[in-house]
């Protein structure tokens, strides 16, 4: 299995509070991604990174920001969580933009 961990694995928070999810990899892969999975939508790309300090938006980036200060860590921040951001969040990594992506175990976030 690819060395990807996500923390926390579960979180319950209240509307309006900031939340940061962490993705950590030990594979030294250049590309890292954040997805959310919701019923009826499959997985949708939030943001991705193609190197340290290099990030770009995905399909559903509104309300989310990311940071990557080290190769191994990719942080997803919800500045002010809303109930519509209740979801399961997956981090993924890939060696290059032309390789398959490997996924972490996911973080279940509930915003009350």
């Amino acid at each position: 299995d690819a060395g990807i961990t996500q923390s926390p694995r579960h979180k319950v928070t209240e509307t309006g509070t900031p939340v940061t999810l962490r993705c950590h990899q030990t594979e030294n892969h250049r590309y890292m991604y954040w997805y959310r999975q919701d019923p009826g939508h499959g997985l949708r790309l939030i943001h991705y990174s193609y190197g340290v300090k290099d990030t770009d938006k995905g399909e559903v980036s509104d309300g989310y920001s990311v940071s990557r200060s080290k190769t191994e860590d990719f942080l997803l921040t919800l500045e002010s969580a809303t109930s519509s951001q209740t979801s399961v969040y997956f981090c993924a990594i890939s060696e290059s933009s032309y390789n398959e992506q490997f996924f972490g175990p996911g973080t279940r976030l509930t915003v009350l």
């Binding site: 193609y50 890939s94 972490g104």
Partner: protein, 113 residues
């Protein structure tokens, strides 16, 4: 507007028989196609991929077929095993934006004993 569709939310198959999962896409620019398997409470696991220069790719019990003219791909699992019971997602990308995968909504496969 969904660019990738998996029109069957669920599929039940007897152990030992063939499972066929289908995926349709709308954009002819897509040129790289993947299948992922997902168990509950786990992240998706990469299964098999195919590029648009091929129409078939095999890996053990898993075969992916690509019909570019119909914008259709399928995953065949032969023989199906109970451990194959999971949700299967197809994903697509194109060379210009190869970092960005677009996923279908998934098909839940149940392999019955």
């Amino acid at each position: 507007d969904q660019q990738v569709k998996q029109n069957s939310p669920s599929l039940s198959v007897q152990e030992g028989r063939i499972s066929i999962l289908n995926c349709d896409y709308t954009n002819s620019m897509f040129d790289y196609f993947l299948w992922y398997k997902k168990y509950p409470a786990e992240g998706p696991t990469f299964l098999i991929s195919i590029s648009s220069i091929k129409d078939k790719n095999e890996d053990g019990r898993f075969t992916v077929f690509l019909n570019k003219s119909a914008k259709h791909l399928s995953l065949h699992i032969v023989p199906s095993q109970p451990g194959d019971s999971a949700v299967y997602f197809c994903a697509v990308s194109h060379t210009g934006t190869a970092s960005k995968l677009t996923f279908g909504t998934g098909t839940r496969l149940q392999v019955m004993l």
